[in-house]
């Protein structure tokens, strides 16, 4: 079984797989990307393997075929149902056309999807989700039906989401400018958090951008060393004798070093740039949750306002002994109930967010620690290999000049 699993990303949380243990475990692998279909309709499908001892699941192991849009469906469902929780982020929707099917892109996406599902599976609340169970167990065809049906119904219109984002952002700037808008939370701690999240995204995006450029620089340096090596070899060919030999040795060595650089560029992309990108996505996911919180708060406030008005109206009606009092009373009771629900929803979001943010900070310190370690290790490994390679050339050069 182990052979059918793809390499696990170091970021994938994997609880220990002891079948005898009474601890509930749920472990998922996203593997074996396969290109399906042709032309514009082509897409990648993945094998999703679930191993679990949780009773809600049918059996201890299940394998299903899923595609990227299925993962998106899962994210959307969880985002709807678990407001206040930071839903693990998805890898980006689509890259530039020509990279969409490049081996590197496919591998990175597979890893990111693997991490995505496992984060859900390790989250106390999220792992209980019925939608998760659906995602991990139903057949391909059933999944497709569900996905296309519910996408239509439940997808939030982009316009709403954008508006909410705008509100949250303008609130931040209002605080900065000293204005206060009435329909927003005004807790100082929460303001601080919002400000932090928005700023963090900027800083992280910059770091990720530079990390990506660094990957490119490795590739460019590798490429130029390779070209240089070739040119030097040609120069050696027309020199001949000792000098020619020296040149050709240098050329060969240059090409060898070039390969090491290309290899490290790949490692850098996978183990340093991608975690940073993941971090950025996570922060963006938090922003979406912040928007949800703002929406819930707004709803609560609006209901409270409406109730006040309704109360005034009811009193008026009672005074005039109108025959609409009964009706008004019923409406008022209904509103009161809704208001309580809205308040409950809002307060739960607040509570969850507080837990989530602490967990998030700890998790990120861990994730970044690993990423930094890999980065440093990779760079040290590269530099050592480069030093060794060039050093081995020196006795040969010495020999060329003394003869």
């Amino acid at each position: 079984m182990a052979s059918s699993r793809g390499p696990q990303s170091p970021r994938s949380p994997h609880p220990s797989l002891s079948l005898a243990s009474s601890q509930p475990y749920l472990s998922v692998s996203v593997t074996d990307p396969v290109k399906m279909g042709t032309g514009v309709q082509a897409y990648i499908s993945y094998r999703v393997i679930t191993k679990t001892n949780m009773p809600q699941y049918q059996g201890s192991e299940k394998i299903v075929i899923r595609r990227y849009s299925d993962f998106v469906w899962l994210y959307d469902r969880l985002f709807e149902k678990y407001k206040g929780i930071f839903i693990p982020p998805l890898p980006e929707k689509s890259a530039v056309e020509k990279f969409r099917f490049s081996a590197e892109f496919i591998e990175m996406r597979r890893r990111a999807l693997d991490v995505f599902v496992n984060r859900i599976a390790s989250h106390q609340e999220l792992r209980q989700s019925e939608d998760l169970r659906t995602f991990l167990q139903v057949d391909e065809e059933v999944m497709e039906r569900i996905r296309s049906y519910e996408t239509g119904l439940f997808k939030k219109k982009p316009a709403d989401l954008i508006q909410i984002f705008k509100d949250v952002q303008s609130k931040v700037s209002d605080v900065v400018l000293g204005k206060e808008k009435p329909v927003e939370e005004s807790s100082e701690d929460y303001e601080k958090l919002k400000h932090y999240i928005f700023e963090l995204e900027n800083h992280l995006a910059e770091a990720q951008k530079q990390a990506y450029r660094l990957v490119k620089r490795h590739r460019e340096l590798g490429s130029s060393l390779s070209d240089f090596g070739k040119a030097v070899k040609l120069l050696g060919a027309c020199e001949g004798d000792n000098l020619g030999k020296a040149f050709s040795e240098l050329g060969a060595k240059s090409e060898a070093v070039s390969l090491k650089l290309q290899k490290e560029a790949h490692e850098l992309l996978m183990n340093f740039e991608e975690p940073l990108k993941d971090y950025v996505r996570a922060v963006q996911s938090i922003k979406a949750t912040i928007a949800e919180r703002a929406a819930a708060f707004k709803q609560q406030c609006e209901l409270a306002e409406t109730i006040k008005l309704k109360e005034i109206n009811l009193d008026k009606l009672m005074l005039t002994r109108s025959d609409r009092v009964r009706e008004a009373e019923l409406e008022y009771k209904e509103l009161k109930r809704e208001s309580e629900e809205a308040t409950e929803r809002f307060e739960m979001i607040v509570r969850l967010m507080n837990e989530e943010i602490e967990r998030f900070q700890e998790q990120k310190t861990l994730d970044m620690g690993i990423a930094f370690h890999e980065f440093a290790k990779g760079q040290a490994r590269l530099a050592t290999a480069v030093a060794d390679a060039w050093r081995s050339l020196l006795p040969k050069l010495e020999a060329c000049s003394t003869t």
Binding site: L200, L214, R217, D227, V232, C238, F247, E358, W390, S401
Partner: protein, 531 residues
């Protein structure tokens, strides 16, 4: 016709060693160059046998590189050498290291040509202070300075290429008229100063040219440098125009032999130019086999090799530039990455609400510091790389001189061929004339005079031919010696370059590995948790 003309040639091959010394001796009387010069003396072993930084693994990192250490592997730069590169030892300092000439160009100043021009600011030009320090006795002084302008360099290089045909004369700096309009004046002047210094140093490094009168005059003679006749194109054109009718009629005075030996120059000797052109066309179209051809197989092979070398040098030089750029970019991006993390660190520390954030900030700071250090190392590495790989550019530039020297040989050969053709046609004319006049009794006075003049012309042309041959031989010898010198010096300089380049790469790779190794160590607790 051909037979008689070839008399001097077919019997004795052009490059018999027996004849060589004779030729040299003869030529001495006409020519003003001391031929008992370093050309014939063996080149001393090159100076690459020892560099201060010996190969001793593993710690080049500790031994060599402090920031911007310019006392590089080639050992020819002083630590305070901030001006142009101090690379290939032979291009800049001759192999015989006991005597030296050190030239510095500095202190550019604007000067005005004394004129009665109504427009102020016209006729301004820049002069540079050329300072020479030397222990060579010929100079009669150990330190002296003159002021020169760019035009003087043009004059100097023109004179040298006339006097030192067949030698690999370092190419002079460009006039670059376009750049002077585009660049800032200061930048342009500085660029020019550097170029002039490089050029003069190269001249001083050439074993023959460093002892030339032209260079000496340039470095020492105060005041304006007198212009050569040949640069005064306009007046020569007029002279030539006056001479033409006489030359055409065969009446005019023949050119002095040594002038005849020089290739025809535009602006003078229009007729000669025409003749040589005719000859080269005849050569090309093979209408008649020229009396003398380039037979030296060795030379032709060398010529091909030089062409191939130039091609590969050009290619390698380009790739070297690309490599340098890639190293530079790497350093820069590393730096930017480090900066981004420093900002993140600051941010997390300022906004920390949880301890996890402070821990992360500390981790980031380590990473950022290391990244910035690595960035600095890449940039230093590159500075040194530039200096080493510059050797490629230098030799590429030298190939231009090789072209010139080989072209000198070709044009000298063409001159010989032209004179031979002329000689043979003059002689046949003379024979016909003689045959005609002998039929007339009493001897026409004018006819006799004409015959005498013809004989004089033939004699003069004969002399010129001999001079041209000697010149050709001399140039061939110069070519040969220079090619040898080039081979030896090139070997040494390139090996130095390779070693320097590699030692440099090793040293900095080790330093960079150290920096990252520490961070990997400091973050190793995360690795354990993960596995």
């Amino acid at each position: 016709m051909m037979g008689s003309a070839n008399d001097g040639f077919e019997e004795a091959p052009l490059h018999s060693p027996r004849e060589k010394s004779e030729l040299h001796h003869d030529f001495n009387s006409v020519d003003r160059h001391p031929l008992s010069d370093p050309l014939l003396s063996p080149t001393s072993p090159n100076s690459n046998t020892h560099h201060p930084h010996d190969i001793d693994p593993p710690a080049y990192a500790d031994v060599i590189f402090t920031p911007f250490d310019s006392s590089d592997i080639n050992g020819s730069g002083s630590p305070l050498d901030t001006s142009s590169s101090s690379s290939p030892s032979h291009v800049f300092s001759p192999s015989n290291s006991s005597d030296y000439i050190k030239i510095t160009v500095s202190n550019p100043q604007k000067e005005q040509e004394p004129s009665n021009s109504l427009v102020p600011g016209s006729n301004t030009f820049v002069t540079y202070l050329v300072t020479t320090r030397t222990n060579i006795p010929d100079f009669g002084g150990s330190e002296f300075s003159v002021r020169r302008r760019f035009r003087d360099i043009i004059t100097l290089s023109g004179r040298l290429s006339e006097s030192y045909r067949g030698f690999f004369i370092p190419p002079r700096p460009d006039k670059s008229v376009v750049e002077s309009q585009v660049m800032q004046k200061q930048e342009f002047v500085e660029q020019r100063r550097v170029a002039l210094e490089k050029y003069l140093r190269r001249l001083a490094a050439h074993p023959v040219i460093r002892k030339s009168e032209e260079l000496k005059m340039f470095l020492q003679v105060q005041g304006k440098l007198p212009l050569l006749p040949t640069t005064d194109v306009a007046s020569r054109m007029l002279d030539g125009a006056v001479k033409i009718p006489k030359q055409l009629l065969g009446d005019g005075p023949a050119l002095a032999p040594h002038e005849a030996a020089q290739p025809a120059k535009a602006g003078r000797d229009l007729l000669r130019l025409f003749k040589e052109l005719k000859q080269s066309v005849a050569n090309d179209w093979g209408s008649a086999k020229p009396p003398v051809v380039e037979e030296d197989k060795e030379f032709l092979e060398k010529k091909d090799r030089m062409q191939e070398l130039e091609l590969q040098l050009s290619n390698a030089s380009q790739q070297a530039e690309a490599l340098v750029k890639a190293q530079q970019d790497m350093g820069e991006t590393m730096g930017e990455l480090g900066l981004a993390f420093i900002k993140l660190t600051k941010f997390e520390n300022e906004e920390a609400m949880f301890n996890a954030q402070r821990v992360r900030a500390a981790d980031m700071k380590n990473l950022a510091t290391a990244t910035v250090k690595a960035s600095r190392f890449y940039r230093e590495l590159n500075l040194h790389t530039v200096k080493h790989l510059d050797t490629l550019h230098e030799y590429l530039g030298l190939m231009m001189s090789v072209h010139g020297a080989l072209a000198d040989r070709s044009s000298a050969l063409l001159t010989v061929q032209t004179l031979l053709s002329e000689l043979s046609s003059l002689q046949s004319r003379s024979e016909k004339f003689e045959a005609a006049t002998s039929k007339i009794f009493g001897g026409d006075k004018t006819r006799i005079r004409k015959l005498e003049e013809l004989q004089e012309t033939i004699k003069a042309t004969e002399d010129a031919k001999n001079v041209a041959i000697r010149q050709y031989e001399w140039i061939k010898e110069n070519n040969r010696n220079e090619l040898e010198r080039l081979d030896t010096e090139r070997q040494a300089d390139f090996l130095d370059m390779l070693k320097g380049f590699v030692v440099n790469q090793v040293g900095y790779a080790e330093k960079i590995a150290n920096v990252w190794g520490k961070v990997a160590e400091e973050t190793s607790n995360y690795a354990r948790e993960n596995s």
